[in-house]
């Protein structure tokens, strides 16, 4: 409750500041439209914005789900044996040397202008943070628990599955929280490189036609969607892992 009041308060102050800048500096609306105009545009174009927002949301959610699953599996493989670690780790490090943004045109070339090139982009951008957060947590199992398992004559596989993985879930959760913020970035970049749908596409389109108010409306919807996604992931993580 106090948090809601707090957030609403901050949002109101920001809107006032925005309006004040527009009014006082006498900015033309094709540079920075005021919040009033952006809201009117949002309302009159709500069907259009919703249509594109749905596409971006689908890209983000698919990218997040697949990237999280892939990151989970990769971290497990990394800790499972020194052999997989020696093969996978250099690949991971090298992949980090390639700027993910630079891959967007290639992904569009390979996967087309549709949904999947954006899903792949979102996936790639969150894959490393999820993998490394989970991997680090898996490598930091409290030694007392591992020794207990050894004295109990546990097999390494069961120790991994019953102790190390559950003990590392808070680490996985922090990776997911980061991913919830990164995934929309990936989807938008993918849309900028080549798309006919989505909020990123809509922003470029609006920009080209000097509809700056529509651009801002799309931008704000994107920001709100990202915040909601982050909050949802946070709630799920807290429920499941008290992290």
């Amino acid at each position: 409750m106090r948090r809601t009041v707090h957030i609403t308060g901050v949002a109101l102050v920001s809107l006032l500041a925005w309006q004040a800048v527009v009014t006082l500096a006498d900015l033309p609306r094709f540079i920075l439209p005021g919040p009033d105009l952006v809201f009117v545009t949002f309302w009159t174009s709500r069907a259009l914005i919703a249509e594109h927002a749905l596409v971006t949301a689908a890209e983000v959610l698919l990218g997040l789900g697949l990237g999280a699953a892939l990151g989970f599996a990769s971290a497990i493989l990394l800790v499972a044996s020194p052999l997989t670690r020696s093969v996978l780790r250099p690949m991971l490090v090298f992949s980090q040397a390639v700027p993910v943004f630079a891959l967007a045109p290639i992904l569009t070339l390979w996967l087309g202008y549709g949904l999947w090139s954006k899903v792949a982009m979102a996936l790639l951008i969150i894959y490393f943070p999820v993998t490394s957060a989970f991997f680090d947590a898996l490598m930091r199992t409290p030694p007392g628990w591992l020794e207990l398992a050894r004295v109990m004559k546990a097999s390494p596989g069961r120790t991994l599955w019953r102790i190390r993985v559950p003990a590392a879930m808070p680490g996985f959760a922090s990776g997911l929280r980061l991913a919830a913020v990164y995934a929309p970035i990936g989807a938008i970049i993918g849309e900028w490189v080549g798309a006919s749908q989505g909020l990123g596409y809509l922003m470029l389109l609006a920009n080209g036609r000097a509809k700056i108010d529509l651009m801002f409306a799309a931008l704000i919807v994107l920001a709100v969607l990202t915040l909601l996604l982050h909050a949802a992931v946070d709630v799920v993580c807290r429920r499941l892992w008290d992290g």
Binding site: G144, W145, E147, L148, A149, R150, V151, M152, K153, A154, S155, R158, T159, R162, I163, P166, A167, M169, W241, D242
Partner: protein, 241 residues
């Protein structure tokens, strides 16, 4: 449970070239409770870990053996100062962890019985964070009990408890672990005076055996002979170099 063996360890241990203890020799008779009393840092935990088959970081030059000549692996249960309960499991699941780690079905009936013995029957479905420190150590004791190993190694398991909980836990542990070979590492002379059938004093100078009162364990904490023995142990600790 198979017949409890005697325990023997002799030799010296180093970590990265730094001496930890020894050369020393300790023996724990079969089916009895042996306290290994010593100040912090003399290497008691290291010694216990060697007996448990742990301590990969320790360079040990000597011999660890059971009196019957058979390997110790798989015959040992370990209970440490930290309760090592998994926060994501309830008490029953924590107590039956060993079976599941070995790929066997958890013995829920046994768990209920053991939890009853340690007085946690009403807490079986709780998570560890909902328990007091004393209750958590009881759960750890139940987890140790259900393993049903003939050798039980205790590394200061009661030292974080308040005086009353500690005395109650000492009574309980003495009762439920009776008949097993127990090696109990402690820095508390009062605890050794209450629980040990045998008391080994471990100091930087080596290990010596101190004969405790004849009274059965757990000895009364305020009986004159217990207090007298406690005082003697403390004096020996103080006079050791």
């Amino acid at each position: 449970m198979t017949a409890p063996p005697a325990l023997h360890l002799s030799g010296r241990a180093t970590i990265d070239g730094a001496p930890i203890f020894g050369p020393i020799s300790i023996d724990a008779p079969p089916g009895e409770w042996t306290c290994l009393l010593g100040p912090s840092g003399v290497g008691k935990s290291t010694l216990l870990r060697l007996l448990a088959g742990l301590g990969d970081e320790v360079a040990f030059d000597g011999k660890v053996a059971a009196g019957d000549g058979a390997p110790l692996g798989g015959r040992v249960a370990l209970m440490a100062q930290a309760d090592l309960l998994m926060p994501w499991l309830d008490v029953t699941a924590n107590v039956t962890l060993g079976a599941r780690l070995r790929g066997m079905a958890p013995q829920r009936g046994r768990a209920r019985e053991v939890l009853g013995r340690v007085g946690l029957a009403d807490h079986a479905a709780k998570r560890p964070h909902a328990l007091s420190g004393g209750q958590r150590q009881r759960a750890a004791l139940a987890r140790t009990l259900i393993e049903d190993r003939p050798v039980v190694l205790l590394d200061e398991p009661f030292s974080a408890l308040d005086a009353r909980s500690r005395a109650l836990m000492q009574d309980l542990a003495a009762e439920v672990l009776a008949g097993r070979t127990v090696l109990h590492v402690t820095h508390d002379a009062a605890e050794a005076a209450r629980l040990g059938h045998n008391v080994l004093l471990m100091t930087a100078g080596g290990v010596s055996c101190v004969t405790p009162p004849a009274a059965p364990t757990p000895r009364l904490y305020d009986a004159p002979e217990t207090l007298g023995f406690q005082g003697r142990l403390l004096r020996l600790l103080m006079e050791a170099r």
